[in-house]
Symmetry: C3
């Protein structure tokens, strides 16, 4: 139920250090580690000798050594050596294309020869002095598409996040959804409204008044397999809203990389890239903490929604105008999966 010939975020770069990292991606248990020169490698988390998980092993000078009997596994899934053994006839295990980019490790769970690093999406904010980034990771026991739905319909902010970013004006302002090839965009522009607590704090951090009316925008963009980037921000009212000059607004991108773990669980990498006060590390930490708290409010809802849907598999859900973002994103996902299957046959 997910595309496989595509790049997913597997972990943040700092999750792999001297020890390998074991993580299941799209139903594949994978051992990630840093091979020689620090380059990330990914192989099936299954030692061909006796089935031990390679992620319980060690990395010695860039070599992944099984922690049970010392088999040394190569980046390509072929055994390099084992004490006292000739390894030529050992069966190979799967290896997975991986790339490190933007502070994340990206993995390609499908056909290896189609893995083109150029397909990893561009992130303008990375290594850009005008931007600062902070984020985190949540494990959620729900189908990854429920998170896509969640992020492509921000009316839920009014209810789930009522004390931070929610406000009734979101609910009251229609959104507009468009599809452009594989990209789905759903946007909402609110004019002359009070800023909710999160944005008041952002305005203050930039030295702007927080008690005046603002224009607020939310522009959600889905791209396959399951990335959602959301332009968010507020500008003092009357200066052009989204197009206002930088000195009148605070502007960020919510970054969401959603990686299926299994059919009913996901790794959710969330973060915020902001285009104001980029050098203020305390502000980065403060926003990260606040965002982490806000985004944690969704988890119980999604996990319970998953259980409810699992209990009533035949029941059809509604597809309202506010759901258009999620509905269209799912159509793109279905099309990508169908295309993969067609190409395979």
């Amino acid at each position: 139920m997910f595309p496989i010939n595509t790049w997913y975020v597997a972990c943040t770069a700092d999750e792999i250090d001297e020890k390998p990292l074991g993580r299941t991606i799209c139903n594949h248990p994978i051992a990630f580690y840093r091979a020689q020169g620090g380059k990330v490698a990914a192989v099936e988390d299954f030692c061909p000798h006796r089935g031990a998980p390679l992620s319980l092993g060690q990395v010695c000078e860039g070599k992944l050594v099984c922690g049970y009997h010392g088999l040394e596994m190569g980046c390509d899934g072929k055994t390099v050596s084992m004490p006292g053994q000739r390894v030529g006839g050992f069966p190979a295990i799967r290896s997975f294309p991986v790339e490190e980019r933007y502070g994340f490790v990206w993995v390609w769970p499908g056909e290896k020869d189609k893995a083109d690093p150029a397909l990893i999406p561009q992130m303008e904010w990375h290594n850009n002095p005008e931007w600062a980034y902070g984020g985190g990771l949540y494990h959620v026991k729900a189908d990854y598409r429920l998170m896509v739905d969640n992020l492509m319909d921000l009316t839920h902010e009014t209810y789930v996040h009522s004390t931070s970013i929610g406000q009734k004006e979101i609910d009251e302002t229609p959104c507009k959804t468009t599809v452009n090839g594989d990209e789905v965009m759903t946007s909402r522009f609110m004019s002359d409204i009070p800023a909710p607590p999160f944005w008041k704090a952002a305005l203050r951090a930039k030295g702007l008044a927080d008690d005046v009316p603002v224009d607020r925008w939310q522009i959600c963009r889905f791209t396959p397999p399951s990335h959602v980037i959301i332009e968010v921000g507020v500008a003092h009212a009357g200066h052009g809203g989204y197009d206002a000059p930088a000195e009148h607004k605070v502007y960020s991108k919510v970054i969401d990389f959603i990686t299926p773990e299994t059919d009913t669980s996901m790794h959710y990498f969330w973060g915020m890239a902001r285009k104001f006060n980029p050098a203020d590390k305390a502000l980065t930490a403060q926003i990260r903490e606040g965002q982490g708290k806000i985004f944690s409010e969704d988890l119980e809802m999604l996990e319970r929604q998953q259980r409810n849907i699992g209990t009533h598999p035949g029941r059809k859900l509604l597809m309202l105008n506010i759901d258009a973002g999620g509905v269209q994103s799912r159509k793109v996902i279905d099309r990508v999966i169908a295309a993969e299957k067609g190409a395979a046959e």
Copy 2:
């Protein structure tokens, strides 16, 4: 494996306050809440919009509002409104008849048009100045009928509750079981015996000697679907036992409302209505604590019994004379279920 056209206790009145309560009754996940005027309502715990559990939502001025996207659900399972939406075509969800009585909320999980509040059993002790009541709730991972068996055969007190209400004389005194329509009664009268610790304390609370021989009685009454009310007490010997004048005895009713959660788990509402020192609130609290401790002694036994039975589904259990209360109660249950099925066909 349970009657459905009947009233079950779903919760105590104070479990539903400003927030809805989500609880599964007879395999139905249900959201309970207080609608306008404080009247309790019960609807399927499934928002027709996207399947979120309504019990995670809010109640605003008697309206149940989904905590995900603000759909407002009516008591009748029909959507009342949703911001920016026309809801006329939204599919209805189930609603369940509910009544609040005796400090409990009663729910009818079966056919709505058969739900007659007059079928809720009478409780003489409620709002009666001669009586005081205290009780609690246990969740037990066992078929609700194992609790019926337990309460309709009090010889287990000798073993499970040996330090409080058990005594060898229970085991040594035969019980008598009679069936009168749908009511099963099993009774035991013990004469001229020492009082066990629980009853010694009750005698002292009433200012009666606790070191003299007593007559003791246990009269268990089962009524469908799964209520067991037990008259219990002791009187100083030689004053007429069960029929002794009030000044020579302490007398209570053990109240047991047993509600199936699933086929192998239950909500067990236990309590004691007592007809002595009714104004003594400290005594009520003390008895409630003592009873809670005693009744908790049954839980591991029942859960382990359930697991044993689940492991050996084909094995037949014995039906001894002491089991007659449970056996007859199960016959009534089976008859009620068969009648429901017959009526449905």
Copy 3:
């Protein structure tokens, strides 16, 4: 997947005291208790009355009394008595042959009439003033044969136990495996090497220098159903190694009794019988603690290996020369099981 006409260690003698012990052996839930005179008895953990687990009951003067309604069960699985009941027609439950020996309780889960106590293996170290013994019990969620594999291939010490008993010389020294009837022996002799930390401490405990080269040996012996006894030790180099006189060496037996709980879990009784400083109880405690810590290092590996194998049931594992001990042991196990099946048909 395990022999049943054989003796398994069920528990240590001190695990059964005044209360019965409930433990599942080879998929049979069993209640163990001390009958009259302290002799251990074992019956199915299922009261024939209502299916309660007998292990939740009491032992009164050597009689096992069900904790629910007082049924008294005999050692032979026949009900002895029950208050107010004639028990002649009660169905019998299974009883299991049990023997107490070497501080362990041994149980025979198969055909009763084949249970010959003489088949319990001899343990020379028990009640022998030249030896001291200490050990413990781990519950492991893995097929018991994974532990046999583990113990019959000690190259894993280099990786799993690198800070205590592991050293690269184990990996570098070939082992030799021989089969003699049902006994499988795999041995390794290392000459003129440094002692690893565990053996340094043992040398010091005996007053021997720990900074001189030693000869080290490991002689693993598997016997059915799943016992592994390992002779281990070091001698100062140049004195004859394994055959060196006692004053130049420290010498122990690692004792492993591996009992299947279910098809994918086991009770692992580990210990060490040592033939030096036998009267030093502080040393016994210290070795027991050290060994417990070392052996706990295997648990995560085996449980994760079990999960990996369960995920890929069709995948064949390698059988290298170092695996010969485990491979041959499994062949013996398969042969014993096949013989049991043949005899049964």
